[in-house]
Structures are given as structure tokens and as C-alpha cells.
Point group: C2
Chain length 432, copies 2
């Protein structure tokens, strides 16, 4: 039977086979990305494999099989997190670890998550081939429900494991079909009791490195296969609700208006420029803006907008946020409207430590690849681990920067280069 979608073939058609070396196999990576792509494949040749679904569990079990073939010891905790472990020469020390997730957003792509898991597994495969035993234990993680599509959350597995998830709140959640978290857990063979036990008092990991697709265009523009993440931006969400006065668009003179939309527009333009003077890595976006009553001939009485502000340093991120808050108050005063400001979320950014950056830099030097620092604007499980232990991330080039979409694409050559980079970095971590 011909497959509807053959990711393996597509990947191999554009692969520089010289990268299959030192135990790392581009052909194996292609086969595995393809095998995962078939679980939850959509008619658009994308994938819908949301967190806590049976499809996510099915994908994990496929990877568990590969882990076992690579002589790893496999465990799965009550939150569904999978750990495959390569025994180290010294088993009494915390592990060096890598991994990512296998869940996707609805109609997502085949690289966001799977690449990080398969690249991590490739390190173990390569060592097996090379007959190499690491000094310390090496662990490959599959974190559950990174995307959070089902319960509007995200990073659920890593947050459970590290104890930062509010579990008593989590168990009250319902998905869009009205199924409770407990009922959903049951469909993957888990219970709430086991879920509660998934939190570790000691994380047991010394260092963690995640391979992920860039989801941006910087590496593509720089013509580089991989890059080093120098920080994971912590998002801050602030809601601004401007309250002016609705009125007739024809009968209200221009000098007697309290138009909430012009006030909001002034803030939107300020937000666009807000990061510039404060930080080169900061970004600020108004993605959501709602006008009331939103009638063509009615002066807007109320406008609510959300400012999403991120940076890799908390200090500069917070400086941008306060500059926006101040500006909103200044606009409201000048325009005789009210503004109600509500902080909706404030996550700490995770700057990558010098030590981990040094490791990745020396690997790139050895690979003769120009060093390009990147910022991760999106959150990743590594951000959660980064609050506890030294972490790092390797980004692989994304075609057109597209992500969360069936068109998501990273060439097999770039995927394989990222696996090499990870392997060398993990080996350096073993020696620290």
C-alpha cells in the first residue's frame, strides 16, 4: 500500500549523506520522524496529536520501543513523562539529559517536538554503535503535553515533574468535550493518584539540553544549519481596558470625544517601539484587541487589548512592561478616558548560563559552524527545567520560519547536524 504521506522519502531526497557518521544516522532520523508523522496524520499532511490523547501515548510507546532497542531502561511517570536511561559508568550521580515532546497543536507539523526526542535518542544510538559508555547516566525525556492544546495550559509534564504545576487546579480542568482531567488521564491508562506522585523532590538531572526547530527565520537568513539559544524569553501578558464614551459618529464633534480606540491605537504604536531603546532581544506584540460596541457609526466606548511582552532578561522585560504601563496611563490622562490595567501572566525568562553557552560554542567551533546566538521567544520544557538546573537549547533551521502548521520543515541535513551538535555537547557535559 502506498502511504498518503511519505516524510522519510521527502527528507532523504534532500540529504547530505556525509552527515551520517560517528554513529549518528540521518537515515534513522528520517525513518523515525516519518514513523511518528503517521500517528495522528491529518488530511492536510499535518499532525493532530494533542497532549493527554491516546495518539500522544501511542507515539510515546513507539519511542519506548526504540529506547529499549537502544538498551535503555524505560520508565513512565504518572504524568505520562517517559524517561529512557543509558547506564553511566557512575550511577550515583545525577544524569545528563536531553529530550522534548511528541504532542502537537491541532494541525501542527512533524518537527516541533519529535526532532528533539529523536535527536536525543540518536546520542544513545550512536554510543551503542560506538561501544561508548558515558561517565554519568544519560536520560532521554519525552515530556507530556508541552503544547497544552487540550486544557489550555502547556508544559504540563515538565511542570508536574518539577512541582511548579498547581495540581489541585489541574485536576479540576475539563477539555473542550467536557471530559474531566481524570477522565482524560484514564484514556491513557493513568490515574490522578499516580499523577500526584509524578512530582520529584530531587530532579535528578545535572544538565539538560534540548534540540528544537527555530520557529523563526534568523538561521535561514544567516544561512546556518543550527544556532545556540542564549535565552528563553519569559512572556508577560498585560491587559489594557480603555473606557471612554460611546457616541454617534455623526453628531459628536471631534473635540468632544472620549474615543477608546484612538487611545488604544496610540498604545499599540507605542508598544511596537517600546523594546527598541531597552533591549535588542525584547519583543512586544498586541495580538488581541476587541472594540465595543464595534458598530461602524458608533464612537468606540471600550477597547480591550493584550500586550505580550518578552525578553530573555527579566529586568529588561519588566522595564519594557513598565514603560508600556506608564504610557497607557499617560494616554488615558491626556485623552480623558479610563484605563484598567491587569497583569494576566508573568513568567520568568531563562537566560542560558555562560557555562552551557561555552559548551555549545566549543562544539560549534569544532564542527566549523559559525556561532549564531538566538533567542527563544516561545516557551519550552527546558525553560521549566532551567529554573532548577543548568540548561541549554540547540535550534535547527526552520524553512520560512513556519511552525505549528503542516508546512513546518527542517531539512534532514539540518536535523542530523543538530543531533551531532547535541551528541558532542552531551559528551562535554559528561566530563564537567
Amino acid at each position: 500500500m502506498t502511504k498518503q504521506f511519505n516524510l522519510e522519502q521527502a527528507l532523504l531526497s534532500d540529504y547530505d549523506t556525509s552527515w551520517t557518521k560517528d554513529g549518528v544516522s540521518g537515515e534513522r532520523i528520517a525513518k523515525r520522524l516519518d514513523a511518528l508523522s503517521q500517528i495522528g496524520l491529518t488530511t492536510q499532511n499535518g499532525v493532530t496529536r494533542v497532549g493527554f490523547s491516546q495518539l500522544e501515548q501511542q507515539a510515546k510507546e513507539l519511542v519506548i520501543g526504540w529506547m529499549k532497542d537502544a538498551n535503555m531502561k524505560v520508565t513512565q511517570d504518572g504524568a505520562g513523562n517517559v524517561v529512557g536511561r543509558v547506564t553511566g559508568q557512575n550511577e550515583d550521580v545525577p544524569s545528563i539529559a536531553s529530550g522534548s515532546h511528541v504532542d502537537s497543536v491541532p494541525e501542527g507539523g512533524h518537527f516541533d517536538g519529535p526532532l528533539g526526542v529523536i535527536a536525543a535518542l540518536e546520542v544513545a544510538e550512536a554510543w551503542k554503535e560506538q561501544g561508548f559508555t558515558p561517565l554519568k547516566p544519560y536520560e532521554v525525556y519525552i515530556f507530556t503535553d508541552e503544547e497544552g492544546s487540550r486544557f489550555n495550559g502547556g508544559l504540563t509534564g515538565s511542570r508536574t515533574m518539577t512541582g511548579v504545576l498547581d495540581m489541585s487546579e489541574q485536576v479540576t480542568l475539563k477539555d473542550s468535550d467536557g471530559l474531566s482531567f481524570e477522565e482524560v488521564l484514564a484514556t491513557t491508562g493513568k490515574t490522578v493518584e499516580e499523577f500526584y506522585k509524578a512530582t520529584r523532590s530531587d530532579i535528578g538531572i545535572e544538565r539538560f539540553i534540548e534540540v528544537h526547530i527555530e520557529q523563526g527565520k534568523i538561521l535561514e537568513k544567516a544561512n546556518l544549519p543550527v544556532g545556540i539559544v542564549k535565552g528563553i524569553a519569559g512572556p508577560s501578558w498585560t491587559e489594557f481596558r480603555f473606557e471612554g464614551k460611546a457616541g454617534h459618529a455623526g453628531n459628536t464633534p471631534m473635540n468632544d470625544r472620549q474615543d477608546a480606540l484612538v487611545a488604544a491605537s496610540e498604545l499599540v504604536l507605542f508598544i511596537e517601539k517600546a523594546p527598541i531603546t531597552i533591549s535588542t532581544t525584547g519583543v512586544a506584540t498586541v495580538g488581541k484587541l476587541d472594540v465595543e460596541p464595534n458598530g461602524s457609526n458608533v464612537i468606540p466606548g471600550k477597547v480591550t487589548l493584550n500586550a505580550d511582552i518578552r525578553d530573555i532578561e527579566e529586568e529588561t522585560r519588566d522595564l519594557i512592561v513598565s514603560s508600556v504601563v506608564n504610557k497607557a496611563q499617560e494616554i488615558a490622562l491626556a485623552r480623558n478616558v479610563n484605563v484598567i490595567i491587569t497583569e494576566k501572566m508573568r513568567t520568568s525568562p531563562v537566560p542560558i548560563g555562560e557555562d552551557m553557552l561555552g559548551i555549545l560554542n566549543s562544539v560549534l567551533d569544532e564542527m566549523n559552524i559559525e556561532n549564531k546566538y538566538l533567542v527563544s521567544g516561545a516557551a519550552h520544557d527546558t525553560m521549566i527545567l532551567g529554573a532548577k538546573i543548568p540548561v541549554a537549547m540547540i535550534f535547527a533551521r526552520s524553512k520560512d520560519g513556519v511552525s505549528h502548521n503542516p508546512a513546518e520543515w527542517t531539512t534532514l541535513t539540518d536535523c542530523t547536524i543538530s543531533a551531532h551538535m547535541l551528541k558532542q555537547a552531551i559528551e562535554l557535559c559528561m566530563e564537567r
Copy 2:
């Protein structure tokens, strides 16, 4: 039985009875406004009496009774327009006329429309009391469906009578309950055949003056009971659809964005300032703005907004529109986004002629009331008639400028002053 809402009592509690003179009676105006208020009275003490409803027809029949008591000859055409006629000394000439409407928006007020009909009727009542026979015929009009709430149109009666309504399109309309225009007409005892016959080849009116509440705050601020409308602004609606590129709010650097909302915001701010340098009477409003996909962490890919631009002179109105269109194109170019510009509506403004302004000015001089020129930002049946014959409008002061709302209020003193002003103006028209 105690009435739920006693408009008569409320009006009389604050009435300067010295204005009941020369045959014009504030007490009668109060009684009649009250009687109309009971037809379609809502629990909020507002009124819901939409065009082409049985309630609108009931209100017309109440007025028809008053017309007959005032010795007027009454006819109703196929569009439901009511005409009450006082015989003139010369019946072979076109009439001098006044009037307004008795339909309302849903949950509207008790003055927008009814005041114009009752004030027009008061002229006939006064003449009857004074034993005065005008030189020319005098007609009082009740135009059907001025507000257009039922079929999303408006000015339906006056547009039908003057032949500017697309009747073949009108008969295809359905209301929000799915009733066809024909079915709705039938509920008020009319047929489509009669409706088609309501268009007049010769309008038969020499001059028309409408009394209406201001629906703005200018007279209130100037502490004046009435004012002269110097022009009815013609609205132009232009839709601007900015198309940029959606993207991740965290992963897209600030200098690599095609954000449709910042482009739109720049235009919103330009639109606010656009009238200033071109016209003192122009107004420009963005009342409706929709963001796509409107997610907090997604750079807006598409934004659609409507610019409502009005002025009493077509030339300046159109100059404001073109300045906005040019700016939109300039913004799109500078920000590397597309903009699709669609004209949705362009109605000609009706400036009031010098002759009619002269008549109203001399009346105000005689009444010893300071002359205040106003612009009507909203459309009125008079605007439709104004394309054919000389017209004028008298505005009565509105409390807080509120309209289309149960809180709509004009004091009985101001109502009565407007009736006096109308009567004297009509009498001057008779002599021209």
C-alpha cells in the same frame, strides 16, 4: 390604573407655561408625546416601535386621529407615509410642509421622530385656534421607517416617495425573523403593488422644514433651546483591510514583522486628525475594527476597519476621504503590508440653502434667541427631500446629547419653543 411611565407628568413638571401662546400649547405637546410613548413602551421606559411594525402603524393611526380633529385631510400611501393636509387659500400650488417619523430604534427614546411630527401638527392646531388659513396648502408628513431597524436600511418612506429607493431590491429583503418585505407590509395592511405606487413623479412640496432633537451637546453647552441646522452631513463609509503576516509573538523579531494591527493603528490615529486641516464641520470615526486571528500571542495577520467620514459639504468630505485613502496606501507601503480599500457607502451631504437659513434666522431674531448654527451628523428624511427641494431643519436641545436610548430627553419648554419657531418659519414660507 396608574401608568408605568407618565411622560406627560414628567414634561409638565419642568415647563415654562409662558410658552403656551399664539395657539401653540405645551400642554398639548406633552399629552401627545405621552400618548405616543405608550405605544411600544419597554420595561426600561424606552420605546421599541420599529419601522413597518404594527406598533408603528398604531402610532400613525393615533396621529391621524389628531390630524382629523385639526380639520386636516389625511391620506396614507403604499409605503405607509401619512400626509395630513390643511387646505390653503390657493390649492393649485405645491404645499409648504413639515413632519418627521414615529418609528424608533429598539429601546429608543420618546423624542427622536415624535417631536417633529407633533410640532408640525401644532402649527395646524394653532392656526385652527387662531382661525388662520394659509396662502398655500400646508402638509404634515409621517415618513415610514426612518430608522431602518427592521431591514437594515432607513429613510425608507422618504426614499420611496422621492423615487431614490431601489424598490426591486427592497422587495427581496427579509427581516431578522425571516419575514419577507411583502409579508411584513401585509401585517400593516399594505401590498407590494401599493408600495410601488408610492413614488411621486412630482413631489408636490415647495419647501420642507423638520423639527428634530439635536442628538448632540452643542445647544446644551451654549445654553440655547433651539438651533438652526446649516447642513446635513453625508456619510461616507470606507473599509480598509490591512493584510500583513501572522506570526509567533515570541519568535518574530521586531524588525521582521508585517503586523496588520500596527498599520491599522497608524491609520486610526491619522483618521482622528484628518478633518482638522480640511474642515471645521467634518468628523471622522473608526467605530468598527476587527483583528484576525485575534490571539494574544499571534502577530495580527489581518485587520479590517471602517472609516465613517462626514461633512456638510461634499467637496471637503471627499477631501478628507481621499487624504485617509492616501495615508492608508502610504502606511501599507512603508510597513510592507497590503491594504484593500473598498467604498461601502457615499451619500451626498445636504447643505441648507441661504434662503431657508435666512427664514430661520429672521424667526430667531424675532424670538430674541441667539442664532446657533449646527451640523446634523445623522441622516434625516429632510436630507432625502433636500435633494429635490429647499429644506431646513430646526434642532431642539438634547439633555447630555443622549439619543437612541430611553434616557433621551428634551424639556417641554424646548419642545414648545421649537414648535413656535417652526410655526413662524412655515408662515414666512407661505409668503415667499
